[in-house]
């Protein structure tokens, strides 16, 4: 973000290129269940990282908001389930994003005046509220959720022909990444970081801190909504279990594993999480205790590097550079003072 940004950009381009070529050399299963899932799950994690890293708002409502987009899409598009109106899939996409953003703005307006643990609890309450809303309002979903949600033709059949959805997720992920990187260098984004560091001073400088946070939360909801749409295309279905407390914790874990200070961490964390989640279940001696394994790996990563996997990468680079006589980049959250 601040230091080493150019090096990371170069690395990002290499990664994107490698990903773009991956359908040539990975299996359909790997492409769909690991890479495509990584991409859409990474977006919702990135929305959390955007809010927490740039706005100091650790939101536990991101999965709930991602669910809003998904459920609206499902209600509008599915022929059997929810409202059963079977409109055009693209109408569903637009409505889903609009409703998710609006709900995000409303939540944001409520939560923007609180900070720290209170903000965390409020957003957790929002997430749980949404979970029960979809579970209990059976006209819109019920706990069984909505099945067989039609995706637009461009998505093709994600089950049998995963390439299209993979490329869509890749392009959207790159766009989301670029958008966040752009936004944080606009007056809006810089001011958001100012609010993160010193809300009191921002008020004294004339900024409407609450409004600013609300809008940022709305943007976070929009990004989460994008992820929700892609997840529905990928799953062809959605139910309250997709936005429950478990999923909320998953997304938080992903963001922290990846590195809560870097947007890229969303996708990195999603990849690690998805790979562990998928493959650890095949370890015979682990049996149904694979969740414990994920917990242990999470603990180790947090202990080793509060900055997540990207944090490890950064400190490794810093170490290497110091050895060659140059300095390292510091994460924006890491304390470093030079005075005397």
């Amino acid at each position: 973000m601040i230091a080493g940004a150019r090096g990371r950009s170069g690395l990002a381009i290499v990664f994107i290129g490698l990903l773009a070529a991956s359908p040539l050399f990975v299996s359909d299963f790997f492409l769909s269940a690991i890479l495509t899932k990584t991409l859409w799950l990474g977006i919702v994690a990135a929305s959390l990282i955007f809010l927490s890293g740039y706005g100091n708002m650790i939101s536990l409502a991101q999965t709930g908001l991602y669910g809003v987009a998904g459920f609206v899409l499902g209600n509008v598009v599915a022929a059997d389930g929810g409202l059963k109106v079977a409109w055009d899939p693209w109408v569903g996409v637009i409505l889903g994003l609009v409703v998710a953003t609006v709900v995000g703005l409303v939540f944001g307006a409520v939560a923007s005046r609180s900070e720290g643990i209170y903000f965390l609890m409020l957003t957790l309450a929002f997430g749980i509220l949404l979970f029960y809303f979809w579970g209990q309002v059976t006209q819109l979903s019920g706990f069984g959720g909505i099945n067989s949600i039609q995706a637009p033709g461009i998505v093709s059949k994600p089950r049998t022909d995963p390439d299209n959805l993979f490329y869509i997720c890749l392009v959207v992920s790159v766009a989301v990444y670029a958008l966040i990187r752009y936004i944080v260098r606009t007056p809006f984004g810089i001011a958001l970081q100012g609010i993160r560091d010193e809300p009191t001073r921002m008020r004294a400088l004339g900024y409407n801190v609450a409004l600013h946070r609300t809008l940022a939360f709305g943007l976070g909801a929009f990004l989460a909504g994008i992820s929700g749409i892609l997840s529905v295309w990928w799953n062809t279905r959605i139910d309250p279990g997709s936005v429950g407390l478990g999923r909320t914790i998953d997304v938080l874990v992903i963001a922290i594993i990846g590195g809560i200070f870097w947007i890229e961490g969303g996708w990195l964390g999603a990849f690690v999480f998805t790979a562990i989640d998928t493959y650890s279940r095949n370890i015979d001696w682990l049996g149904p205790r694979f969740n414990t394994l994920i917990g242990v790996i999470f603990l180790v990563i947090v202990l080793v590097s509060p900055g997540g996997l990207i944090g490890i990468w950064e400190s490794a680079r810093g170490l290497a550079r110091r050895r060659s006589g140059a300095g390292a980049g510091l994460p924006p959250g890491a304390p470093a003072e030079r005075s005397g």
Binding site: L18, L19, S22, F25, V26, S27, D28, F29, F30, S32, A33, I34, L35, D80, Y132, G135, Q136, T138, G142, F143, G144, G145, N147, S148, K157, N235, T236, R237, I238, D239, P240, G241, S242, G244, G246, R247, F271, A275, I276, T278, Y279, S280, R281, N282, I283, D284, W285, P288, L293, I297, V300, L303, V304, S305, I312, S315, A316, G318, L319, R322
Partner: protein, 496 residues
């Protein structure tokens, strides 16, 4: 010169990182090694950087063969190891293993999930269990696990899932995946077969409504209820379950208005507010149907006792959970005298039935007594039907399982507690039983022979699916109303 401080810390971190990576790679290798063990022909395992690997394309037709034998038939088994029904995990898997054990397979350990050895090979194609799925009663997780078993581990046939919403989601999944065949585990939502109608999804067990056949008639005519209440979980299976009771109770003349139907969410832990709702109408109703299943049954009964006082067992009937050994064991005396219904007849004197119960206890000593559970029984039925169909076609899964599915649709199981056959929607037609729980265990009082899913036209693909307000309460014609086969006179059990 000494070096201290963070530079060392950085080095420490690097080492830990390397350690974690090595561990992760080892874990992945172990995971993939598990596959290779039984399937040595699979492509290179995913032990290198995942982005560069080529996962085996296991969903393709099994063209290669091993050691002169036919290609293995890959089977996945899906159940719940977490959530409201997590306690049944081993029981389910054990049930699915029984028909294979009957054909010469041997358990690899005391727990069913330890696996099987020497699996049967219909037509020379050895069955290979690629994995056990572990869901948590949410459709989300069930689909995730189904995908893992089928798309990652290459299962061609899957037995599962356990719970209602999961079943609907998996049946929908089956529709989108015509290349696999799925046999329901024990899920019992009505829509799964009646509405979804996936041609490759087969259910050899009753749905929730069928499981209550006879119970409404019993409550009206034996217990003398006229107005009743229903409290049931707020999800598809429990809707279906309540629908069976409500449709029948109303068909014979009883009343259950919408305001007497209470729907606590699945996985609720505190039922006090719902018990309070029940207490408000307690004096106006003659009895209540309990459809709160799994882990919720015990807290519900406790909450009712706290709010209403000691419960008169003749004012209560329950769905299958209130006779299931797993739950009865925990309910203790609390449930004695309560009538419930399902497709199980554990006190049957038929040699088939006693053999089933005895073989189970001998096979799974740690799970003794659970052969009377619908969970074990239904997973067993599914696996038995699968094996019979595979044997009939010599393990031939070619042509998109065409012959196998045809055979499966025609299987008539001579099951321990009565015959099971399929209707046009590949849904089981099966006997149902009403029994009363006594201190010695359930005593079966009524048998409703060969109950079909449609309740004599009450439920069709066009009728609204069971939900909080459906079905409506109205008198209907029911094929079995007043025609129950009496096994033991209820008065005898209740009097004694």
């Amino acid at each position: 010169m000494e070096q201290h401080g963070s530079r060392q810390q950085g080095r420490w971190r690097l080492w830990v990182l390397v350690g974690v990576l090595v561990l992760a790679l080892a874990a992945l290798a172990a995971a993939c090694g598990g596959d290779d063990e039984a399937a040595p022909e699979t492509a290179p395992a995913e032990t290198e950087a995942p982005a560069e690997t080529e996962a085996p394309a296991e969903t393709e037709a099994p063209a290669e063969t091993t050691e002169g034998d036919g290609a293995p038939i890959k089977l996945g088994i899906l159940s719940d190891c977490e959530g409201a029904f997590g306690a049944f995990y081993e029981v389910d898997i054990g049930g699915a293993h029984m028909p294979m054990i009957a054909r010469g397979a041997t358990p690899a350990g005391a727990n069913p999930t330890d696996g099987l050895e020497n699996l049967p090979a219909p037509g020379g194609h050895p069955i290979e269990i690629v994995g056990y799925g572990c869901a948590d009663d949410t459709p989300e997780k069930a689909i995730e696990e189904t995908r893992r078993l089928i798309e990652q581990l290459g299962a061609e046939i899957m037995i599962g899932p356990l719970s209602g919403d999961e079943g609907i989601a998996v049946a929908n999944y089956a529709k989108e995946h015509p290349e696999v065949t799925i046999l329901n585990g024990t899920s019992g939502a009505q829509d799964t077969t009646l509405k979804v109608q996936a041609p490759n999804f087969f259910r050899f067990n009753s749905d929730g409504a069928q499981w209550n056949a006879g119970l409404g008639d019993y409550a009206y005519n034996v217990l003398g209820w006229r107005t009743a209440a229903a409290i049931s979980d707020d999800y598809s299976f429990a809707y279906t379950s309540a629908a069976g009771f409500i449709a029948e109770f109303c068909a014979v003349g009883g009343q259950i208005p919408n305001e007497n139907r209470i729907w606590p969410p699945l996985n609720e832990t505190d039922y006090s507010s719902y018990a309070a709702q029940l207490a408000e109408i307690w004096d106006e109703v003659d009895g209540v149907f309990l459809g709160v299943g799994g882990a919720g049954a015990i807290p519900l009964l406790k909450a009712m006792e706290e709010t209403i006082g000691p419960i008169d067992p003749q004012k209560v009937v329950g769905n299958l959970f209130y006779g299931d050994p797993v739950i009865v064991q925990e309910l203790g005396d609390r449930a004695v005298g309560i009538a419930s219904a399902d497709s199980m007849w554990p006190d049957s004197t038929d040699p088939k039935a006693t053999a089933w119960l005895e073989t189970w206890d001998a096979t799974w000593p740690d799970l003794a007594g659970f052969a009377g559970s619908v969970f074990a029984y239904n997973y067993n039925s599914a696996a038995e039907a699968m094996l019979q169909a595979l044997e009939a076609v010599g393990g031939d899964l070619s042509d998109g399982h065409a012959a196998f599915r045809e055979a499966l649709a025609g299987v008539v199981l001579d099951a321990p507690f009565g015959q099971i056959s399929l209707d046009a929607n590949r849904q089981a037609i099966q006997d149902n039983f009403v029994r009363i729980l006594t201190a010695e265990g359930p005593v079966t009082v009524w048998k409703i022979p060969q109950v079909a899913q449609d309740f004599g036209g009450t439920f069709t693909a066009e009728t609204p699916p069971p939900d909080r307000t459906n079905p409506t309460c109205e008198p209907r014609e029911l094929p079995w109303a007043g025609k129950a086969e009496v096994i033991t006179a209820p008065e005898e059990v209740l009097g004694g």
